[in-house]
């Protein structure tokens, strides 16, 4: 029995559909991310689970209890808001204590729990400060402590890291995961940042236009994107058009100047397809030693990697090479490009109807 279950959850604003037929099951202790560009309905979905937005149709179940129409203040969920929404007129300790106070917990026990929660986020020393005296990262931790102190069945995170600068964001990302592992709270996070979603979630729900287009573990979402837009939204991808010349267990695709084998099965002869291959899967060789040749048009130094743009007979390809100490290729250099067969994916050339996708 799943812990949090969304069945055919739909949200209409007037006649516009913000979320359509969303199905999602979250197991106890799981960390699930809703990932998608802005306006894809991910925040609306979270708001419906939280009880701040009414569900137009469908149902939300928590631990076997139907909470579809329960009031927000009876659900008892822990929520971290994008703006943190700390109470500015209360100290850090009072902020964290508020939820316990509402549960009528005796004062002594309350202050003990507040202390533990602040220790969890390493803020014991700032208990008597006011929110405006804290940095962004510290406010974020207070918000997390406030949501966790009530020991909620589910923790909802609404873009929790988007207001932090890049360095802090990365730190908090792992911190967040560490804390979540420690307390074991079932967590649903909304984010538009694919690296954030992949690095800390057990499963990722990719959303587009109000629908979940793929629900999978981060590795599968990255390596086996179901649609063209997922393959380009989650990481970068080189997309090459071609048509299937031989179907079966393996598929042979004609890309124009060359024919390649792909592991994916189930494509019929003559189907128009897109071959997707990630830039870091492409390997640069001596000219003539790869599957095709190309000329380095541009190169960018990214620190740990080199990003090359290579002109080939199949079009422009992005290639990411690790900066492993070997000298980089100059612009204008002729190079061969190769890739392992198992690193390529076939996608139907036309986007499939979004509604046909079933949750994994």
């Amino acid at each position: 029995m799943s812990f949090l279950q969304l069945s055919n959850v739909t949200k209409f604003y007037g006649s516009t559909c913000a979320v359509s037929d969303m199905n999602l099951t979250v197991e106890k202790g799981e960390f699930v991310s809703l990932l998608g560009p802005s306006g894809c309905g991910k925040t609306t979905t979270l708001q419906m689970v939280a009880g701040f937005e009414a569900v137009s149709s469908g149902s939300v179940e928590l631990d076997g209890r139907d909470i579809t129409h329960a009031k927000a203040n009876t659900r008892g969920l822990g929520i971290v808001f994008q703006t943190y929404a700390l109470f500015p007129h209360m100290t850090v300790a009072d902020n964290v204590s508020f939820g316990l106070e509402m549960r009528k917990m005796p004062k002594a026990e309350r202050s003990e729990r507040v202390k533990q929660a602040l220790a969890l986020v390493h803020l014991e020393a700032l208990a008597e400060r006011y929110p405006r005296e804290l940095s962004g990262g510290q406010r974020q931790r207070v918000a997390l402590a406030r949501a966790l102190v009530i020991e909620p069945p589910v923790l909802l995170l609404d873009e929790p890291l988007s207001n932090l600068d890049a360095k802090l964001r990365e730190e908090m990302q792992f911190e967040l995961r560490k804390i979540q592992r420690k307390v074991g709270t079932t967590t649903v996070m909304v984010t538009h940042d694919q690296s954030e979603a992949m690095s800390i979630s057990d499963r990722v729900v990719v959303m587009e236009g109000g629908c979940a287009t793929q629900i999978d573990n981060p590795h599968s979402v990255y390596e086996h994107p179901r649609t063209r837009s997922i393959s380009t939204f989650v990481g970068k991808a080189n997309l090459l058009t071609g048509h299937v010349v031989a179907g079966g267990a393996k598929t042979r695709v004609n890309l124009g100047s060359i024919e390649v084998d792909v592991d994916d099965a189930g494509f019929r002869h003559g189907t128009l397809v897109l071959l997707s291959v990630r830039p870091e899967k492409l390997q640069l060789r001596e000219a003539g030693q790869g599957r095709l040749d190309g000329m380095v048009r541009e190169r960018f130094f990214l620190g740990s990697q080199w990003l090359y743009t290579v002109n080939t007979a199949l079009g422009e390809l992005s290639v990411l090479s690790p900066n492993d100490g070997r000298p980089a290729l100059d612009e204008g250099h002729l190079a061969g490009i190769d890739w392992p067969t198992h690193c390529t994916r076939l996608l139907p050339a036309d986007e499939p109807a979004l509604h046909s996708v079933e949750p994994a």
Partner: protein, 284 residues
């Protein structure tokens, strides 16, 4: 460098001139006037100074009564404005698109009509043959005397002053993070507790400045008590008017006016001190 040093003075110059000419100079002249000796036969004696007028104000029960009435009416009007204006601003801020602007305009509309016109409007409503009394007669009740009583003054002042409460509260509500109410709800607070513990403390600065404006303006209001209080129900501003234009005792009028100014300042500053201390630390 010297030019950039002078720039702030040039920029604030027009405002300074206006402020000095229209406020400081008249205030100073009034102060001087309040110490001038006065002879009922010959009028103000320039160059001859006395404390007689202040002594007169501070020893006569008649003036105590008027000051007391002025301040309790202003206090009551302030209370009514807080009780009506703060919830009104909150409800307005939660309203949907077209209604919010329309109703905000309705709240502010009284400011567009002259106080005198509004006072006459109220006297028509509250008079012996007015709409309210006609209504009472219609349902078989005895008519009530309202015009030329404190009731009329309080009701009309509250109506005039309401926008001055709604606007500052509205402004502080705009600064409220919309997430905080949801945050409180998610922590199991009831909507009422959310309002009391989360929203109210954050709009306190708005309520404070609103009540200072309302109290100050009410205590020095002239047209409303003049027109709705009648000849017998006097407030300080109407007494000052009488001294100047009926008794022609300008120095006594000036002394009363300055006493009102100082008393008003004392009340407002101590109120400000009292309330501000409660949120100064947290809200900055």
């Amino acid at each position: 460098m010297s030019a950039s040093k002078a720039t702030p003075w040039w920029l604030s110059g027009p405002a300074l001139v206006l402020f000095t000419a229209l406020l400081l100079v008249p205030l100073l002249l009034t102060t001087v006037l309040s110490f001038n000796a006065y002879d009922p036969a010959t009028g103000v004696k320039a160059g001859e100074f006395t404390l007689e007028h202040y002594a007169h104000v501070f020893t006569d029960d008649y003036y105590y009564g008027i000051f007391w009435r002025t301040f309790w009416i202003s206090g009551l009007v302030t209370l009514i404005c807080v009780a009506v204006g703060a919830p009104e601003a909150y409800i307005l801020s939660r309203m949907g698109k077209p209604w919010r602007s329309i109703l905000l305009l309705v709240v502010l509309a009284p400011l567009l009509v002259s106080v005198v016109v509004r006072a006459f409007g109220w006297s028509m409503l509250l008079g012996p043959e007015g709409l309210v009394n006609s209504g009472l007669k219609l349902v078989g009740l005895r008519p009530v005397r309202m015009l030329y009583t404190e009731v009329a003054v309080v009701v009309a002042l509250a109506h005039v002053m309401l926008p001055f409460m709604v606007i500052p509260v509205w402004t502080s509500l705009q600064k409220l993070d919309p997430g905080v109410e949801n945050a409180a709800l998610s922590l199991r607070a009831s909507p009422f507790t959310t309002l009391r513990r989360i929203v109210l403390p954050q709009v306190l600065p708005g309520i404070l400045s609103g009540s200072l404006i309302v109290f100050g303006l009410s205590a020095s209001a002239f047209a409303i008590p003049g027109l709705l209080g009648g000849r017998r129900l006097k407030m300080v501003a109407t007494v000052v008017y009488d001294e100047y234009l009926h008794e022609l005792n300008w120095p006594l009028g000036a002394a009363i006016a300055l006493t009102l100014l100082v008393a008003n300042l004392v009340v407002m500053l101590s109120y400000n001190r009292l309330v501000e201390g409660r949120y100064k630390k947290s809200l900055g």
